[in-house]
Amino acid sequence: MMDRSRWSRRQFVRMAGCSSLGAMALGLPRLAPVSQASDKAAPRFAFISFDGKGANGAGISVFDVRGAQWRQTSTVASQAPSSLVLDTGENYLYVVNEINEHEGLPSGTVEAYTIDAVDGRLRLLNRQRLSLSATAPRHAAVSPDGRALVVAVHGGGAYNVLPIREDGSLEEVVGILKETGSGLYEEQRSAHPQMVVFDPAGRVVSTDLGSDRLSVFNLNAARLSVSGRYEAQAGHGPRQAVFHPDGRLLIVSNGLDASVACYRYNADQGRIEKKLAQVAISRGENTAGVLMAMDPAGKFLYTTHRSGVDGVSMWKINRDTGRMRRLQIVNVGVPQLNEISVTSDGESLVGLSSEQSGVFVWRVANGQIAGGKRVANVEAPMSVAVKSS
């Protein structure tokens, strides 16, 4: 087991804990037809989860974002809400509670909320315990048909599937898939699923930082079965995944070597075929992973890096070769971004900074990153989701 001494353990954990890109639903291409119509809609409400030590504790704040400055309208308490995900109709918000124990049992939890159509206020529908040993869940995705929530369980090294009822609430866990695996580094002593996304055919694609593995699962009757596995380069630590809108390119950011890799994906067979290209986002000492987000049309990929300057890069990806070309790199002046995401209209890049206790927005409409601005103050922000419809 190699020692990755160029990061402190604390740095890594903090990074890994906050950058689950829970707002995939807003920043990434919508694969389900039902959501296509809303892709161009302007943002209305933003949900920011936070886990602060102060009087506000941990919870989810709702912001009205129709204006230059975001206006906080309400807040609900929630425990370690590390990842937020909207359903495809943006009527419900699902929250991943990245905890190791619930009511004495070694399990994380997930919560379902309804969203008030008028003021965005959240109302808890229910909270469900994950399976035994499913500790520290990190990310979740709603199936394209809106009937299942798939959870990537970082700590417990597993995936859980919970059926979603008609009213948006969650049933108990039905599907449990326990992973094994390990890698080169201290952080890779066991399997650590990080993220789940759906492919165009409704299969689940996942990243596993602990085992350097990408997986494709079939989802039937709320149960997962392996469709394909792809062993990534040892020591990569795959963390985030996003599909190009055409469904043939899978882009993966690697948490342990600050790189981004582009894979050829066979959506018909549910198989990752080969790695097409890879770029190092950060080099040298003190690299600490990379965050990424893609605009809904698939025109640009945005990445952060943490060595030297606090930069955000804009990339163009060749759909045939998967090669990435950097168009722009901007020193955004906001250190330690925890998460970035692109609004579904493709015009804004949202960044959360725990160190700055704030939410920042950049205009990215014209192929340029411009106009960085603090739009809200939030202590220890963790994840963002933006409702447009």
Binding site: E103, P106, L132, E172, S182
Partner: protein
Amino acid sequence: MSIETISRNDPRYRTLMKGRNNARFPVAADMASRIELCDNAEDVAVALQRAVSEGLRPTVRSGGHCYEDFVYNNPGGVVIDMSMIGGTTSLPGAPKYRISAGAPLGDVYTDMLKRYNVTLPGGTCGTVAAGGHISGGGYGLLSRRYGITVDWVTAVDILTVDSHGKVDARRVDQKHDQELFRACRGGGGGNFGIITNYFFEELPTVPQEVITANISFSWPDMTEEKFEAVLRTYGNYWETRGKDSETWGLFTIMGLTHRTSGHLGISIQFCNPDGTCKDLKVLNEFLAQFEPCGPVQTTPTTAAAIGGERAIHHAAPENCWGMQMMSKHLWLDANARGGGGGGAGGETRGKYKSSYMKRSFTSAEAACIYKYLTKTIPGADMTRSTLAVDSFGGATNKKELIATTAVAQRASVMKLQLQTYWTRPEEDGAHLQWAKEFYSELYSGPDANPKYKETPYWNDRYEGCFINYPDKDMLAYPFWQELYYGEGDLVPALKATKNKYDPNNIFHHAMSIRP
């Protein structure tokens, strides 16, 4: 290779998806997808590899006596059944004595007597199998004389799962995987892997004969003062005279049954350290202690009521001490009981709690116990609700074994098991609440450390709880692991062992060692 796979559509599924002693489990929504009936250790390795490769959680059953839901509440998972692996023949190159994990203790007693005239200082219930009994540090009627079972284990065969999900077969002992060997000596089942064999270089010689006896008291004649006198007489004996080595052949179970059962009392098994019953001085001395408390005549019916599921065997009385029934048996007859005894039965529901006591009962404890044993709950049958107080101490109190076993309780003179049984599911709430309130109040008295209120946390009177009597109510306390494993190096040692030998936490349940 002959694994018999019992899946949901198999007509045997419902029958085999049950434990022997708690019909509360499994709940319908949490049932496993299949049961793998294995014939040998190789089968177990195959079944385990199959489960792990499919991403399914394996849970393990030998005798099926788990008190909590650790085995059967395994939604979609796999129950690996060891109950048909019961061999006790020696293996080449291994320590002299072998006991397979699936062997029921009743069979073990019989086989080991026939082959070698040795025995385990094991349990009171013949249908409990070696796998769970020994891994949790089991004890029994000979434990005051010979210590607990894990004190005698010298090697273990165990299947572990490496970080890549591959099943490894290991033989662990004091020189090989020493920390895992220690963890297998009392750390509890379902934590690190699947134990297939236990080995012993030495085992105690079988006592030739034992005396079983009873002392009964009538609930209708009982007063709170008399009740306290019984408890204090009993506790004082074990705190004082019971520490003398000549008494270590005496083992007792005081059955403090609910008032509605009619009787309470003490079940006794005795033999002298030389394995005979020629000299009854110690036994008679013990019995005489209770004469001032006004015992009544024991009958087989009252003896069964007092002992409950763990009643010590009685035949027709051959001798009497005063009014008390007494009978002499071959040791095996008294303990194996045909292998059919034990277990509360397939339809019986149960709840259990435990504690270790280093001292006799206080007045406050006696008053609390009296309160709950005389409390009636409308609609709930309490006739099978008992606080069993087993004698302990003697050879179990070898402090030097704390370092090499995973049993830290080495100073207690009594071991308590609160057990309540019922049949109708609608009584679940009443019984669970009664047990919880009883236990919480018992350990919230003047002798409890306020910091650890409601629990028998380690202090000058208590030594926590027994992992083979697991109680999920204890999960409410952040110090629950210390309750079971002590405040010494054992909890961190078990965690380190967990992370090393089960890095992906394949083996887990509600109260397993957490990574």
